[in-house]
Symmetry: C2
Subunit: 311 residues, 2 copies
């Protein structure tokens, strides 16, 4: 028995704002990514390969805020973050602030496989990509007209009261949808999780959210569950969200459903934070929680039909 | 009732390898840092100020692997990481791979106080330091002859079998002692934690360990405890160590002592990882655990005499 869930971000886009054609495009992108991971699990591949395959496809799809189509920094560039974790041996790989690697999740996987490290950032991460022979892409590869427009709209807006004095310090998260991710349990009972993002529209260069942080945006442990989050990255960092779900199972004996409900609907909401997460436990139970109006998501389990949902 | 604990790293230095004069220098450094944080708590300052003050002093002390006196990267530079967390409101600040900021823990505090973000890395973090008027210091300020010698000793050594084929991928942690940190509970019951490091001797540029990662190297929550770790950074990242201790209290109902014992003596040891941590809980109980032969540490509680210990 295997299980796979993916997400393309949770956000504030109200129903009706997504026209039919565009909704269809999102559904197609999610369907393709889910099918890619599904295929790995169906032919008895490992959970780690399944989440990497699904996230790679979402990175390549310009609709999602990861890889190509990622949001821009205040300086108009793209800086990408990603992480991946193997729940069987607690191996993990993460990269942040990379600007020239087409698939950050693949680079994170190589950090996991080929280095004694977990986390490489900036030029150091890119230098590692060069060493292992990953082809560099120009930063322009990632930039779509739509994201350039979103940044322009943000910077053209008159600053909110009080912000003028401290223009560089303002929160600038306007992107309705974000981060992509995947969690899986394979037939052998191995769990894995992966997350990838461009961060927030108009972010300060060097700002790192929860996505590449093991424990916050991504966590997997065969003994409990695998989790990938999306939303207010800073709050997910402060609450160490992905590991917090696993700890509710491990130490509190909670079910995955109870843990996700308590974390998303109660704790995060009480902190004023919004977002969502996908999780799968050791038995292959999938739970998806979010406190936003919508979340791009998909899931499939062995013997069941794949599902794609937005609202 | 207040409580403060600090550490200057846990490592493999066996008893007797530290000569009397050098041991005295470490004790003096720890004593000064402890006194600095102690003074803050004694005059009813907050836990956050106390941990920042203590860690700042350890960063300035060339004996410890943080700030001045940090270990060098494979390229012969210093790259610094630090984080700080306020357990009352779960605010946090962290910086990684900074090369020109004298006190990374102070920069992390400013990220906490003055930005909507938690984590800034590399040039972006340094650019923020410029914006808030922190004076840059040349990278040479951090470099001591001893650390240059340690790097030379490492790079001169013939590579171990199997490493020749993959020279850039080898683990290079030879520094017997590492990271510095502090945890505190103030009279008002607020908890805080801070950690700062130069990482591992001969590390790959851009490699980030657990110290600046909220949840791994640093965590604080008034509802459970404050934790700062030191040791095999990659394993502390994979086990999300600092938050794991807090979760054992929060969800498992463990005492701080039971949580630290289970995490350090059982789980970490079973994973083949070594290191230690300092922790303080909501009642002001201090627990220090390590599975290395020694750990530079100090602690003080209101009405009690300060202690400095190595073995």
């Amino acid at each position: 028995m295997y299980a796979l869930a993916i997400h393309g971000g949770a956000g504030t886009l109200p129903r009706g704002q997504l026209d039919g054609e565009r909704e269809q495009a999102y559904r197609s992108g999610l369907t393709r990514a889910l099918a890619m991971g599904h295929e790995v699990l169906e032919r008895d591949g490992c959970a780690l390969d399944a989440v990497e395959a699904a996230v790679t496809l979402l990175e390549d799809d310009a609709l999602f805020n990861a890889g190509r189509g990622a949001v821009l920094t205040l300086e108009g560039n793209v800086e990408l973050d990603a992480s991946i974790m193997d729940g069987e041996r607690l191996r993990a790989g993460a990269v942040a602030a990379v600007t020239c690697v087409r698939n950050p999740v693949r680079l994170a996987r190589r950090v996991l496989e080929d280095t004694p490290h977990v986390f490489l950032v900036g030029h150091g991460a890119e230098h590692f990509a060069d060493e292992i022979g990953m082809v560099r892409v120009p930063n322009a590869y990632f930039i779509t007209p739509e994201r350039a427009q979103q940044l322009a709209a943000l910077t053209a807006r008159p600053p909110a009261a009080g912000v003028a004095q401290r223009p560089v310090l303002a929160a600038r998260d306007d992107s309705p949808f974000g981060t992509v991710g995947a969690v899986a349990r394979d037939r052998a009972g191995r769990l894995a999780a992966a997350t990838s993002t461009g961060g927030m529209n108009g972010k300060r260069p060097g700002r790192v959210g929860d996505s590449p942080v093991i424990g916050a945006g991504t966590y997997a442990d065969n003994q409990s569950c695998a989790v990938s989050t999306t939303g207010h990255g800073e709050w997910f960092l402060r609450t160490v969200q992905a590991h917090d779900i696993a700890a509710r199972l491990r130490y509190g004996g909670a079910s995955l459903e109870a843990a996700v409900t308590a974390a998303i609907e109660q704790r995060l909401a009480s902190l004023g934070a919004s977002g969502g997460l996908i999780a799968v436990d050791a038995r292959g139970q999938i739970v998806i929680g979010y406190n936003t109006p919508a979340m791009f998501r998909g899931s499939v389990r062995s013997g069941e039909a794949p599902r794609i949902d937005i609202y």
